[in-house]
């Protein structure tokens, strides 16, 4: 009885190759990653065909949430420290060194000067709770009045870092008067050029921008 014996194969798979791939991908993601910045509010930006990429450094970000609350932040911890030092002395807020460090390490700021000290003095857990009830930075269409605190922030931030590029990230549902407060304040600070952060959408076919980009002959 010629019965061919099949050699029994082991079910153990060599995992080495898979391990290699896994770690290769892991290395890629670790190097390519840039963590999502902490955002105080959820903002859904409107769409546009504009493709200008936001720069990496030297950004001043003004966030406006759907109810019109304004949040302010700049990048770079050292510059943030300088900013809060300057602000504290200019507005005599009497911030302690640890409160200033809390600001430097924190994210967007959405409090009037009067509440700044109590917010920065709070523990991170308390801050989380407080953040939900943040009132936003007071702003107005007129500059150089005490109620326009956004103007003060912008002014000092531009002193600490003159290279700052100003980006406005506003929700599509923000009413125009609320948005106008921001642009009027910027105008008052002699800023006439700024960027609006938008979502990318495709250029509609057949329009001038489409022709300029893809030429007439394409589909």
């Amino acid at each position: 009885m010629g019965h061919a014996k099949l050699p029994r194969k082991s079910t153990n798979i060599d995992m080495t190759a898979m391990c290699d791939v896994a770690f290769l991908l892991l290395t890629f993601f670790m190097l390519a990653t840039k963590f999502k910045p902490d955002e105080p509010v959820v903002v859904k930006t409107p769409k546009s065909v504009s493709e200008i990429i936001i720069p990496d450094a030297d950004i001043m970000l003004i966030t406006v949430d759907p109810t019109g609350k304004i949040f302010f932040s700049i990048d770079n911890k050292l510059k943030r420290k300088e900013l809060i030092d300057e602000l504290s002395s200019q507005k005599s807020l009497n911030l302690s060194e640890s409160e200033k460090t809390a600001f430097a390490l924190g994210s967007s700021m959405g409090y009037p000067f009067s509440q700044l000290k109590s917010f920065l003095g709070a523990t991170p857990d308390e801050q989380k709770v407080m953040e939900e009830k943040a009132t936003g930075i007071p702003a107005d269409t007129a500059i150089n009045i005490p109620t326009n605190e956004l103007g003060v922030w912008i002014d000092i931030a531009r002193h600490t870092n003159p290279k700052l590029r100003i980006c406005i990230k506003a929700d599509g549902g923000v009413s125009f008067p609320n948005f106008q407060k921001v642009i009027k304040t910027l105008e008052g600070e002699k800023v006439f050029k700024f960027n609006l952060i938008t979502d990318l959408e495709a250029v509609p076919m057949g329009t001038d921008a489409y022709i300029a980009k893809y030429g007439k002959g394409t589909k």
Binding site: L26, P46, K47, A170, G173, F192, L196, T207
Partner: protein, 201 residues
């Protein structure tokens, strides 16, 4: 690769007098390591922001008290298209700058479709205005420097999305000169009159 084979202990003597040490396999099971690797990959994939947000650049007209009104550039009536933004994504537009109260411009209105982010009527109007300006240039009624100018006037009931939509429309239709201007009392009256004329809209 990762499994080093050390089992062949080449030069050992074999025989009854030699005690055999128990041979341990040096094969390591790599499955947990792969698990860990993929877990971390998943974590990084979720937290990462691959695509940076895009921005739209706008230049506001330079404003300073030093500049006298007579030194400022006046927009020619014939190249201007005024767009008024109002509530519920309603857009009113007319040709010219509408500064002459005795000759009220013909106001047209459209509704901007928020779902598809498009307003075909307005786009058509911008394109036709562009060709009109080009024709006038051709006939020598305008100088080569004249360009179509769109004046965007959002009123207090409009939203930021409408404004961005309109700025986007400027990019789409390749309109070089446009400006966001404060709405005037005259324009407000135009909107009011149109609203009253078309109740229920």
């Amino acid at each position: 690769m990762a499994e080093l084979d050390t089992s062949s202990g080449g030069g050992h003597k074999k025989g009854p007098g030699v005690k055999k040490g128990k041979k341990l396999s040096t094969r390591i099971d790599l499955t947990p390591m792969v698990d860990l690797g993929f877990l971390l990959i998943t974590f990084f994939m979720y937290t990462t922001t691959m695509q940076k947000p895009k921005t739209m650049e706008i230049n506001m007209p330079y404003k300073d008290d030093i500049i006298k009104p007579e030194d400022q550039n006046k927009v020619k009536n014939s190249v201007a298209l005024t767009v008024l933004l109002s509530k519920n994504h309603r857009i009113y537009y007319y040709e010219g700058i509408g500064d002459d109260p005795t000759k009220p411009p013909e106001l047209k209105s459209t509704q901007y479709d928020t779902k598809n982010n498009v307003d075909a009527e307005l786009r058509k109007e911008i394109i036709s205005k562009k060709s009109k300006v080009a024709d006038m240039k051709h006939r020598g009624e305008l100088t080569a420097k004249d360009e179509i100018t769109v004046l965007i006037k959002p009123d207090s009931t409009s939203s930021y999305a409408d404004l961005v939509y309109l700025l986007d429309e400027m990019i789409i239709n390749d309109v070089k000169t446009y400006a966001i201007i404060d709405i005037t009392e005259v324009d407000r009256d135009f909107i009011k009159a149109t609203e009253e004329a078309n109740p229920g809209k």
